[in-house]
């Protein structure tokens, strides 16, 4: 997956969604997985009486962090440097990839182990490293599955959510050495991956990670995970390179108290995640002796400039919005054409990569509001979606028919007299179509799209206002 993957494919989201919907196995896998996580999250959240207060605290922390991002980033750089780490600033994906590649080259290593990181997927790091002859091995189980399959992530937290156990067993049997016969129990699959990965951990000299949070006050980096592979990567190798979007910074260490309650319950429905790794620079004789922090902009400061859209930068990548989204549940992540799928992806992708890319994504939502309801930092995703829709239309909608009809309807609705005329004309036309249903197939796009799966309403002979007058 490269940064360019966010390019709008021919028909954009609607077209990609149509293809995904035809895959019955995919729909079953997604439905099962999203409903399972969704229900577990609801139970985990219900345990806390002060969940709403926690969400509000999370929102305020992120708002403060983003509002003074410049100050916090400089403070972070200072603190990391003081602790023996080195900070690198990357304006875009290419710069970040070059920096990481150079750092690995300097160690002389041709292989790195990786902690699950969407940010490095965003910039297409693995491909960039491969072009320099460096092999990057994903160590998160689901990322490993995708890597072995030559597939890309379809979910923020559960990158292989689109696959079921039988598919994974087949994959392991063909792609992992010494796994000719497996059963598809979770334990057997995990054991196969563990054996394969353990040797790699022990021999790796360089690791690359992302970051869930970075604390400006102390220079501490935080990675949360479930499998322990992250702990291996951040402790065993001699050099550790962390690539982090600049929006991940938190002002104070105490802010983690709130975030580490919000994140696991929202993402994996756990009270606390199994592994929380925190490290500050380097310490002699303990862990990596070289630490590099690459701070990535790649469009983030542009998002920051948009007052209504910048909320998207508050995201802590929990993926709760994906799991409750009725659209994601049916299409899966690949239809979004980005490493950030689902509702959060629909507001992040077009903003990070420019509105030209992923311009159909803000419409990939019925605005049902389920995402906003579960967001641990209260990002009003529906409002940002609506804002982005207006931005895209303002910069030149390609749908001229829609533009014309929206203007015509607005003009008609602007005056009651014209409104009544439009009502009568529409009512008459609607009743004609009701008598001759085949007409709907010849009608303009929206009418045809509607009647492909459902019947059209039959307009009544009398509108409400006609009835009211005759009362």
């Amino acid at each position: 997956m490269t940064a360019g993957a966010a390019d709008e494919l021919g028909g954009g989201f609607p077209e990609a969604a149509r293809a995904a919907l035809r895959n019955a196995q995919l729909r079953r896998n997604l439905r099962f997985a999203t409903h399972t996580i969704r229900d577990k999250r609801a139970r985990a959240v219900a345990e806390l009486e002060d969940w709403e207060e926690l969400r509000e605290a999370g929102r305020q922390i992120k708002q403060r962090a983003i509002r003074h991002l410049d100050r916090h980033l400089l403070a972070l750089e200072k603190a990391v440097t003081r602790a023996g780490g080195e900070v690198h600033w990357a304006a875009d994906a290419a710069a970040a990839n070059r920096i990481v590649g150079d750092l690995i080259d300097a160690t002389g290593s041709r292989e790195v182990v990786k902690v699950k990181s969407i940010t490095t997927d965003e910039i297409g790091l693995n491909d960039a490293l491969a072009r320099r002859g460096i092999a990057a091995l994903e160590t998160d189980l689901a990322e490993l599955i995708n890597q072995l399959a030559g597939d890309s992530a379809s979910h923020i937290l559960v990158p292989a959510i689109h696959r079921n156990r039988a598919e994974i067993r087949e994959l392991f049997e063909t792609r992992l050495p010494g796994c000719e016969r497996l059963d598809d129990s979770p334990a057997a699959l995990a054991e196969a991956a563990r054996k394969y990965l353990r040797e790699r951990f022990l021999s790796a000299r360089v690791a690359v990670s992302g970051a869930n949070f970075a604390v400006a006050e102390t220079g501490t980096i935080c990675v949360v995970e479930s499998e322990g592979n992250g702990r291996m990567c951040t402790t065993l190798p001699q050099a550790l390179i962390t690539v982090m979007g600049i929006e991940k910074v938190l002002p104070r260490l105490a802010d983690l108290e709130v975030m580490l309650q919000l994140l696991p319950r929202s993402s994996t429905a756990e009270r606390m995640n199994p592994y929380t790794s925190l490290w500050t620079g380097v310490r002699e004789g303990d862990g990596p002796q070289q630490f590099h922090l690459v701070l990535l902009d790649a469009g983030r400061t542009n998002v920051l400039a948009d007052q209504a859209g910048r909320e998207a930068l508050h995201c802590i990548r929990c993926s709760a919005c994906l799991n409750v989204c009725p659209v994601y549940e049916r299409t899966g992540g690949h239809a979004y054409g980005s490493v950030y799928p689902g509702p959060i992806g629909a507001i992040l992708t077009p903003q990070l990569h420019g509105l030209e890319r992923g311009r159909s994504l803000p419409w990939a939502s019925s605005l049902c509001g389920a995402c906003y309801e579960v967001c641990p930092v209260k990002i009003d995703i529906p409002s940002v979606l609506v804002h982005l829709r207006s931005e895209i239309v303002r910069r030149g909608s390609r749908d001229h028919g829609e533009r014309l009809s929206m203007r015509a309807v607005a003009a008609a609705f602007g005056r009651p007299g014209r409104y009544r005329l439009a009502q009568r004309a529409g009512g008459w036309a609607g009743r004609v179509v009701a008598r001759h249903p085949r007409l709907a197939q010849l009608a303009p796009g929206p009418l045809r799209a509607w009647s492909a799966a459902r019947e059209l309403p039959v307009p009544p002979e009398q509108t409400f206002r006609d009835w009211w007058r005759g009362r």
Partner: protein
């Protein structure tokens, strides 16, 4: 109370029975209902489709029509249009940087209510004297549920209806897939959501599916008719207006 009815463009044009029933219920409870004929549409379709300038014209019209006339409350048979007025208007005014408009929105939007929240929350009425001897399933529409937080107000009203058999809907809080222009801009996803919804409705064995929004009911009804499920849709107001004859 002197109540202005905000019929909504969809209710006026396609589903007048919901508006008539709203009038019936409010009058039965002893209130005076007015229908300001200058009203047209709340502007939600424009605002949500990316046409805020066009929406602002309709916002101003709404505020003119319902800001005057000395109404104690404005009631709409729609959770979605009510949510637009209560939440969307302030956002549109803020994004336009129009503080005068924001002030007028503030003065009016707090008096605009969706029918069920008005009956239960404002009037404190649960039993409206209705009789409806049918098996009914209730679909909570998204905007009423998540933007207005009507909670169990509609269910309390339904439970107080005499003769009714109220059944539960599986995955009730899942969106029906309407979403305004979403239904035609992403027709395949919308249809997939709809098919799960109508299956859940049909599986309850209900004769009638009800909701607070004619828009969601238009989607659900379209799906039910296409599958010839034999389930009718009725706006909540129509059930509340029904009496024993």
């Amino acid at each position: 109370m002197r109540i202005a009815l905000f019929i909504t463009c969809l209710g006026d044009t396609l589903f007048p029975e919901a508006g008539r029933a709203t009038v019936t219920v409010l009058e039965r409870l002893g209130h005076e209902v007015a229908f300001p004929e200058e009203q047209t549409c709340c502007g939600q379709m424009h605002a949500n489709s990316g046409y805020p300038t066009e929406a602002l014209g309709l916002v101003r019209r709404f505020l003119e029509v319902f800001g005057e006339g000395g109404f104690d409350a404005v009631v709409a048979p729609s959770g979605s249009c009510t949510a637009m007025v209560r939440h969307g208007y302030a956002r549109l005014a803020a994004e336009a940087g129009d503080t005068e408009l924001a002030r007028r929105v503030d003065a009016v939007s707090g008096r605009v209510f969706e029918l069920s929240e008005f009956l239960v929350g404002q009037l404190g009425v649960v039993d409206v004297g209705a009789y409806f001897a049918h098996r009914v399933v209730y679909h909570p529409s998204c905007h009423a549920l998540r933007m207005l937080h009507v909670a169990d107000a509609p269910l309390r009203l339904l439970r107080a209806v005499r003769g009714i058999e109220l059944v539960e809907l599986d995955e009730a809080e899942s969106c029906c897939g309407f979403g305004g222009t979403f239904a035609v801009k992403n027709p395949d996803v919308s249809a997939a959501m709809l098919s799960d919804k109508v299956r859940a409705v049909r599986d309850t064995g209900a004769e009638v599916c009800t909701a607070l929004d004619s828009s969601c009911l238009m989607q659900i009804d379209g799906g039910l008719r296409r599958m010839r499920a034999g389930v009718r849709t009725m706006h909540l107001s129509e059930i509340l207006a029904s009496v024993q004859t």
